[in-house]
Each structure stands twice: as C-alpha cells, then as structure tokens.
C-alpha cells in the first residue's frame, strides 16, 4: 500500500482513483455489499430500510411544499389550498407528505416492536437502541410542528393544548411556554418558529439516522433467534440476498402508501383541519394525530396535570433504560415462554391507549386508560426486571445455521459453504 492512499480493490480506473483518496466506494461495498448479515431475518427486518426511504420521501416532498407555502397566520391555510389547486401536482406532493407522516409512524412503530420482541435493545446494541429513541422523539417533534403549519382548527388548538402542557412544570413552566409561543398565545411568531424548526429537524434526524446505522454496523444485526453470529455459515452477504428481500417489502409498502395517497388521502386526517384556525372558536373535541393518541390517553388518565405530563413524557423516556430493565440473558421472545405473553399484552395495552386517546375523557374510557397506563409502566418497571430472574427460558439453538437444518430438511450440498466464500 502506498503511503497515504487507501488500498482500493476496484478495477475501474476512475473509481479506483477516487476510492484510493476517499474510500467511499469501499465503504459502500463493505457496509451494503458484502456486509455479513444473519441469514435468518424475517420480514420484520425490512422496516429499518423502509423508515430510511420514508425519511427521504418526507424531505423531498417537504422541500417542494416549502417552495409554495407561506408561514403567516393570515395566509398559511390558503397557501396550502393553493398548493392543492394551482401548483402542478401540488396535491400529489401535499398528500404524499401528509400521509407520509402516517406511514413513517406505522413503519417506525413496527420497527420498534421488532426491537422489543427480539430483544434487539440488549447488549451490545444498547446505544443503537438509545439513538433510535432519540430519532423517535425528533420525529414526534417534527410531525407535531408540521401539523401546525396548515393552520387549520386542529393545527391551532393542538398547538395550544400541547404547548400549554409545559406550563405544568413548576417555576420554569410558564417561561418555557412563552418561549415556545414567542409571545403570550399561539400566534404568528409561533407559526414562524415552528416552520423554521420543521424545516430543520428532518435534517437533524438524517444525521442521527447516520449514527444509528454506523452503530448498527459495529455490532451487526440481531436476528429472530436472538443469538450471536458464531461463524460465517450463519451469515449471508447483504447484497444480493437482503437487497432482494428489502425490495419485496418496499413494493408492498408502496402499495399501502399509494392506496392511502390516491384513494383515501384524508382518511387518517381530521376534518376540522380544513376549517381555518380560529382562536375564538374551540372545537368540540381536540384530538391529536392518530400516532400521538396513546400518549394523549396517558396524559388524560392522570387526574393531576403535572403528573399526567410527567407520565406522558415518562412513557417514552422509559424506553431509554429498557436495556437495563430487562434482566433476562435471552434476547428473542421465541425462547421466553412467559415474557412473550406479557409483552403481547403490553402491545394490546398500547392499542387500548390509542383507542382511548381518540375518545372523550369520560366514563369507561378513563377507566380503560388508567388500567392500560398502569400496565404500560408495570411491564417496564416491575414485570420485565422480575421475569428475567424468575422465568426459565427455552434451550437456545447452538447457532443460526443449526435450527435451519432441523426444520428445513437435509442441506443441499455446498449451500452452506457458498455464503462463506462471499462473506
């Protein structure tokens, strides 16, 4: 190797010249070409790639929307409708962007659930998981501020309710609220700073996603068995195996996405947001977007305002310490006969909270919200730490390659050796 130059393996002289000085081609080759990947992924492992695509779609459509959008209280609503009517394909960009936010949350919720079910948050992937939670918080902030931009009734009243929550904090609360508003009520300064931040945050997310992927490529991926890769026989090169498998998931994702955008573009939205914002008229029910409903239900389940706010934030912050709350040595729920039922129940509690968040805070819905909230936290803070000690996991397979043999019949000669050559 000549001093100071990277020893490139590329043949093409131009690529080789660049790669010797800036080995981005080698990097792509190593991280997405030959990268050794567990051979037993199921389709749950598509969702990270889908989230990446979704982020790019949001940024691409958002930039075009921003070219035509006017962040002013007297013009924002009309400028969005102008995009819909008079900008070429403006309706397409707007509906892709608005439904893209929903798709993003669907994809990321599945991605997170995958992590919980297969124990992907456990050592050595704790930091990878923590970075993921940071991405999720940034996404929530971005989506919240984006929803304010069209300046409809739900934009305005959602912003008012959510920003007001910060006033529950003693001493600093009111100052935080004034800072968020840029004044003494949700008004033009609020809209302006939300637009600015809504433009900025997706790029911050992009940076954090880079760290997420960088961390992933140090530890390598987890897999449905939750056991470590032991030998090259356990892995396949990322390309072409997982590029092909991700492509299948991607097309299905686009079919769901397209069905929403083209046939039911306002299905997930709220009709009230087509009424221009009016500070003098409060809507009968102020409801956030569907992806925030579980946290909204937790907020309203607590009779005390500060308590509700703390539990609401706590419901996500608790994810940060999940790697240390789970004391079991086993990652995948496949081998945790008791924990898997409790986790399933947690998923149901999350669904119940989502349901109750969209209902008025009265009667049975409050009771349901409280029970579900209690279980939500009990799972993390009580059940998970205890189960690790009490539960007896099923015997783990020796390696990823072995259980495949068990169920899959005799191994065709040479098949196991093949990936080894490539990896």
């Amino acid at each position: 190797m000549s001093i100071g130059l990277h020893n490139s393996t590329f043949k093409n002289p131009v690529i080789r010249w660049v790669d010797s000085r800036l080995p981005i081609f080698s990097m792509m080759q190593n991280e997405y070409g030959t990268f050794p990947t567990p051979k037993n992924f199921n389709y749950f492992w598509n969702f990270g790639a889908l989230a990446m695509i979704n982020l790019l779609i949001m940024i691409a459509t958002g930039i075009f929307l921003a070219m035509h959008y006017t962040p002013h209280v007297s013009m924002a609503f009309d400028s969005v409708e102008r995009i819909m009517r008079d900008v070429n394909y403006g309706w397409l960009f707007r509906y892709v962007h608005a439904n893209g936010a929903s798709m993003f949350f669907i994809v990321v919720y599945v991605h997170i659930w995958r992590g919980m079910w297969y124990g992907s948050y456990k050592a050595p992937r704790e930091l990878l998981w923590i970075i993921g939670v940071v991405i999720f918080l940034l996404m929530m902030a971005t989506a919240f501020m984006g929803y304010v931009l069209p300046w409809g009734q739900m934009s305005f009243w959602g912003a008012t309710v959510i920003t007001n929550l910060f006033s529950a904090f003693p001493v600093v609360g009111d100052h935080i609220v004034t800072l968020l508003w840029g004044g003494f009520s949700v008004d033009n300064p609020t809209l302006n700073r939300f637009f600015s931040l809504h433009f900025l945050l997706p790029f911050v997310i992009f940076g954090v996603v880079f760290l997420h992927v960088a961390a992933l490529h140090i530890t390598g991926s987890n897999n449905p068995l939750g056991i470590d890769v032991k030998s090259p026989a356990d892995t396949l090169p990322f390309h072409p195996y997982y590029t092909a498998k991700d492509s299948v998931g991607m097309v299905v994702y686009f079919i769901v996405f397209a069905s929403l955008v083209f046939f039911a573009p306002n299905y997930l939205g709220h009709a009230d947001n087509y009424i221009p914002a009016n500070p003098m008229v409060t809507p009968a029910h102020i409801v956030p977007e569907w992806y925030f409903l579980p946290y909204y239900a937790i907020l309203r389940a607590v009779p005390d305002k500060l308590g509700g706010v703390l539990l609401m934030f706590g419901s996500i912050l608790v994810w940060f310490i999940l790697p240390w709350l789970d004391t079991s040595p086993v990652r995948s729920m496949r081998f945790r006969p008791i924990a898997k039922w409790f986790l399933l129940l947690w998923g149901i509690a999350f669904g119940v909270l989502m349901y109750c968040g969209g209902k008025p805070p009265e009667g049975i819905y409050v009771v349901l919200s409280r029970v579900a909230t209690l279980y939500y936290f009990a799972w993390f803070l009580v059940i998970l730490p205890l189960l690790g000690r009490l539960e007896r996991p099923l015997p783990l397979p020796e390696s990823i390659a072995k259980p495949v043999l068990r169920g899959g019949g005799p191994l065709p000669a040479g098949a196991a050796a093949k990936p080894m050559e490539k990896a």
């Binding site: 389709y43 929903s102 195996y241 092909a244 492509s247 097309v251 955008v261 083209f262 997930l268």
Partner: protein, 263 residues
C-alpha cells in the same frame, strides 16, 4: 419459504390495519349530530368514481342563485369552472355578471370593472363581521372546502340540506334558530336554503325538487373541495397496477436468489 411469506403477510397486515383502525379510533368525536346520516349514492365514490358533471353544473347554478347570497367560496376562481365542463364563453359571461374592485390605476384611483376568468369568486360580504351582522350573529362559513371540513362530508351536506323539520314538541329554540335533524345540537342559524320545488330553473329540464337540488349542490361542493380527485384516482390505478406487477417480479427475483439458501 411459505412460512416467511406468511410472516410477511402478518407484518404487512399489521401495517395495513393500523391506518384502517386509527380513524375508527380517532373518530367518535363527531357523533354530536343526533340522527344517523342517511347515505346517498354519489357518482364520485369508489376507486373509479368520477364527477357527475351535469349534476355538478346544476349544483353550481344552485350555489350561484341561492347559497352565494350568504356563503363565499374564496378559494375558487371563475377559471376553475372550465374544469367543470362549462365553455369559456359561459364562464366569461358568469364572471362578467359580478363587479370587482380593482386598482389603483395610473392616476392612483380605485375603479370598478366586470369580473374576469382570473378573479376569485366574489364574496357576498366585505368581511366576517358584516357576514355575522347580516345573519343573526352566525357567520356563514366559506364553502370552498366545506366537504372536506365535515366528517363524512358529502353525506353530511346532503343530509343537512334536506334535514329541516319542525322542532319536536317541548324543544326550546333560540331566537331565529331553525331545527335541523343533522346539525350538531339541532339548532342552526341558517334557515332552510332549499325550500320548494322549482326554486331554481334547470336549463336541462331536470325537475328541481329539494332532494335534486341538494344532491346537485353537494356534487358541486365535493368537486370544489377536491378538484384533483379524477386525476388523483386515475394516477392511483396506474400506480397500484404497476406496483403489483413490480411486486411479482421482485418476489420472483428474491425467490430465485434465495433458492439454494436453507432458511
């Protein structure tokens, strides 16, 4: 192979179910209207639905002759009516019937002129306060996107316009308020705008019953709220067809690549 296909189905089932469930979950906040909405059949419904242009054009006539006395549609321009299938001569004539304030001219004076294709629909009141003052304290909302601004938009509009009745015995009505079966709270400041057969005279000979006028104006308002709908659905059909074929190819490719890997 079969197992992983099954798993894929489950995963995407969850993906597809989430948006399907969410609105059902998020809804429940628009049930103040006491009576259940009757569901009329509209030509624009469904994946292949298109606007019934003749009906929507009659609906525009209803809007122009009845509703526009109180309701603005400030997001629409007269030129948009060309997309509704009216001829340019017709639309120019319609625009010319209104007087528009323009200016300042070279002398710095404001002046009045007949409307043009590029003008927005003229609003009946100069501002919201005037609209409120003229309507017993309730401002008539702008109708440009009203169909998107109500849950079950077109069904609600049709029901509202045909839902006037005498208040049930014992119900205390506010001053100048009207009973409507479908309006939240049942008391609406708008008196029945479509009252009797023949209120407008349709050029195509269609009998202008209250029901017919309500359907026509609903078709028109739906078009006004989503003028892109036909182009959108057409593009959607192409995309879904293309993606289905691409999906078949992607799946076949994946199977081929994975053929000799036990998994």
């Amino acid at each position: 192979m079969f197992r992983s296909a099954l798993r894929a189905l489950t995963v995407f089932g969850v993906m597809a179910a989430a948006p399907a469930l969410a609105p059902a979950l998020a809804a429940g906040d628009h049930t103040q209207g006491p009576a259940a909405l009757p569901h009329a059949h509209f030509h624009f419904e469904g994946v292949f639905g298109t606007f019934d242009r003749a009906s929507a054009q009659r609906g525009f006539q209803v809007y122009k002759e009845v509703c526009s006395a109180c309701h603005s549609m400030r997001l629409l321009s007269y030129r948009h009516l060309l997309e509704l299938g009216l001829s340019e001569a017709e639309v120019r004539a319609i625009a010319a019937t209104v007087t528009v304030n323009d200016g300042p001219n070279d002398e710095g004076q404001m002046f009045e002129r007949p409307g043009r294709l590029s003008d927005r629909f003229r609003s009946p009141f100069p501002n919201e306060a005037a609209a409120r003052a003229a309507n017993n304290g309730a401002a008539p909302p702008d109708l440009s996107v009203i169909s998107k601004a109500r849950e079950e938009g077109p069904h609600y509009l049709h029901a509202l316009l045909t839902g006037y009745a005498d208040p049930p015995a014992g119900m205390a009505m506010g001053d100048g308020m009207n009973y409507n079966r479908y309006f939240p709270g049942n008391q609406i400041a708008m008196s029945a705008p479509l009252r009797e057969e023949g209120q407008v005279e349709y050029a195509d000979g269609t009998k202008a019953t209250v029901e017919q006028m309500a359907l026509d104006v609903t078709n028109f308002l739906q078009w006004a709220a989503e003028p892109e709908m036909e182009a959108r659905k057409r593009m959607g059909v192409k995309w879904v067809l293309f993606l289905t074929i691409l999906g078949g190819l992607a799946y076949a490719t994946k199977r081929k690549i994975w053929a000799n890997v036990p998994h």
